[in-house]
């Protein structure tokens, strides 16, 4: 398959279709609207269904129905729209159905604004709706990775019968980059749990599973423990001899990667840990870090520090953990280097 130049949202949408997704129900909101726009023509072309729902509340429940029927289904949103999906996500998790969600993060709480941010970290990684569930959360840092991770997200949703989330942001979603798309895959919708009429067998109920499972608490904990152990993904850049390790995902990680290059050019031993899964947070990655590391710096595009809490837990506070926050302003790579140097100087 040849490489082509594609916008992040378009490439992600095409990759979803090629992963066998045949249902999308969603609602326009910037900066994710290219996803419903693309799928409005592409889904029927691939024999699937696109519905512009009257609200996110309705869209997520159409996804619930399509997933209950056994089909690969997806919706996407951003900001306040992502908040509206949470009730449905909790139901889908509780019903143990596979489905893929995309949150193209935008800035701020309330209405916020349409530019890039990473403020939905807690909502994404802690289970943004009510009750006891988590989603596997994938954080692409490029258009190609958006394509690759959508495919993973559908497979993992099936494997665990649990919703999964692509946590993107306005930068990754709106930028154009060369991508290689995967081959088309078809998904068998006739899983034994899928509703399609009982056809002589006992009737099926897709509902909150706790009613039907003995020792539900232990069962559900075991399921999420298994994910937490088996599904950590990360990339590390020059952490084995680093004095300061940056921790950053998505668009922030690209700035940090440049910061590592600049620092190394100046003889400053900077490294980068890039979580690819945010839940489970890749705690195992910290075993690769220089045991004599002097500090961690969590670089986040949000007003409040969020991921830093996971960094502190994962490194067990064996070195000081500081934050570099972007919020409404994208940090310069040089400013991150200066901060790392200042941390080292302060320890001398």
């Amino acid at each position: 398959m040849s490489r082509q130049l594609m916008k992040g949202n378009d490439a992600l949408s095409e990759a979803a279709v090629r992963a066998g997704c045949r249902f999308f129900g969603g609602y326009p909101i910037t900066p994710q609207s290219e996803i419903p726009e693309y799928l409005s023509w592409r889904m029927p072309e691939a024999g699937g269904t696109f519905i512009q729902a009257e609200s996110e509340l309705s869209g997520v429940n159409m996804v619930y129905g399509a997933a209950a029927a056994g089909f690969r289904a997806m919706t996407s949103s951003s900001g306040p729209g992502f908040s509206l999906l949470q009730e449905g996500i909790s139901y889908i998790a509780s019903a143990e159905l596979p489905a893929v969600f995309v949150d193209v993060q935008r800035y701020g709480s309330g209405l916020g604004d349409i530019f890039q941010a990473q403020g939905d970290y807690w909502q994404a990684t802690r289970g943004g709706g009510h009750g006891d569930y988590r989603m596997l959360v994938y954080a692409p840092a490029s258009v190609q990775e958006s394509v690759d991770l959508v495919s993973v997200a559908f497979d993992k949703a099936d494997q665990y019968r649990n919703p999964t989330l692509i946590l993107s942001d306005a930068s990754i979603a709106q930028m154009m980059e060369p991508v290689t798309l995967p081959e088309m895959r078809e998904h068998d919708p006739n899983a034994d749990w899928a509703v399609r009429g009982k056809h002589g067998k006992p009737f099926k109920r897709v509902t909150s599973t706790m009613y039907y499972i003995e020792d539900f608490d232990a069962y559900i904990k075991g399921k999420y423990d298994e994910m937490a152990e088996a599904e950590q993904r990360w990339e590390s850049v020059r952490v084995d001899d680093a004095d300061v390790v940056l921790v950053a995902y998505g668009i922030s990680s690209r700035i940090c990667r440049e910061a590592v290059e600049i620092a190394r050019g100046r003889g400053v031993r900077l490294g980068l840990l890039r979580p690819i899964t945010l839940w489970p947070f890749p705690a195992k990655a910290f075993a690769e870090v220089n045991p004599l590391v002097k500090a961690y710096l969590s670089v986040e595009l949000s007003a409040l520090p969020k991921m830093v809490e996971d960094v502190r837990l994962a490194c067990e506070m064996k070195a000081p953990v500081e934050t570099f926050l972007g919020g409404a302003h994208i940090p310069e790579s040089s400013a991150i280097v200066e901060r790392a140097v200042a941390i080292l100087n302060a320890q001398r």
């Binding site: 509340l57 129905g65 399509a66 509902t207």
Partner: protein, 247 residues
């Protein structure tokens, strides 16, 4: 020697309160599905409220939606499995209050599903609070002095919301007499047939009673539907194959 004929879809005795109209509606729906040969390909969507008790006793495949969202879930199932007979079964609080948007938009898009909306004028499961369909002056646990239409509005008439749409089928029936129940069965049968013929959205609203929360005995409950509720919510067929039939 007589034999009691119960539809096989009613796999267990229902769990509704004594005198509840849901049991009759369940029976009618089960008969229609079996007589139409659709019991094996039916998928129901319900959400929250007394209707949920059906999930244990009514033997079709089920998906339980969040409160109010059964129509959206049914749309997701039907679009992907058009060969299935997909219906929603909801009370008036569920389908007309929190689920007003999902219910109405399924009709606006003329989705090929069948909606059974049970109007008993009250939130039953939660203990008798005011519903969108509660009548002016009706005493409920959240309108203890009687529903004040000046501040809470007039009873919501879902048929009026839908009858101008070119949908497949629209009717309102009742369970308040044997004749009404026979008519209701015809309405539900027509609604299901409309769906299976690809005729678009079909909805049957059913006037029912809730003796428990109305705090009326059976006799008074039946008389209340016949004499008072029907005056505000007329029964009959309103739309067939996209055309008004009531005007």
């Amino acid at each position: 020697m007589s034999e009691k004929l119960t539809p096989k879809l009613l796999v267990e005795p229902n769990k509704f309160c004594p005198g509840c109209g849901h049991g009759i509606i369940n029976r009618v729906l089960a008969e229609v599905l079996e007589e139409s040969g659709l019991a094996d390909q039916a998928v129901g969507a319900l959400a929250v409220g007394c209707a949920c008790l059906m999930m244990d006793t009514f033997g079709t495949d089920w998906v339980q939606a969040p409160h109010g969202r059964a129509a959206a879930v049914a749309v997701g199932v039907k679009r992907m499995r058009p060969e299935c007979c997909v219906f929603t079964y909801q009370g008036d609080g569920d389908s007309m209050s929190i689920g007003f948007s999902e219910t109405l938009y399924a009709a606006i898009r003329n989705e090929n599903i069948t909606a059974i909306l049970v109007n008993n004028g009250i939130f039953g499961m939660t203990g008798g609070q005011m519903a969108p369909t509660s009548l002016p002056g009706q005493k409920t646990t959240t309108s203890p002095k009687g529903r004040d239409a000046a501040t809470t509005g007039q009873p919501l008439n879902m048929i009026d919301q839908m009858k101008h749409l070119p949908i497949g089928y629209l009717a309102r029936g009742s369970v308040a007499s044997a004749k009404d129940i026979n008519n209701l069965k015809k309405y539900i049968k027509t609604a299901i047939e409309t769906q299976m013929n690809g005729g678009g959205y079909s909805m049957v609203e059913v006037l029912s009673f809730c003796p428990t929360n109305w705090k009326m005995n059976m006799e008074k409950s039946v008389a209340h539907v016949q004499d008072t509720v029907k005056a505000i919510f007329p029964v009959g067929e309103f739309v067939k194959n996209g055309e008004r039939t009531d005007a």
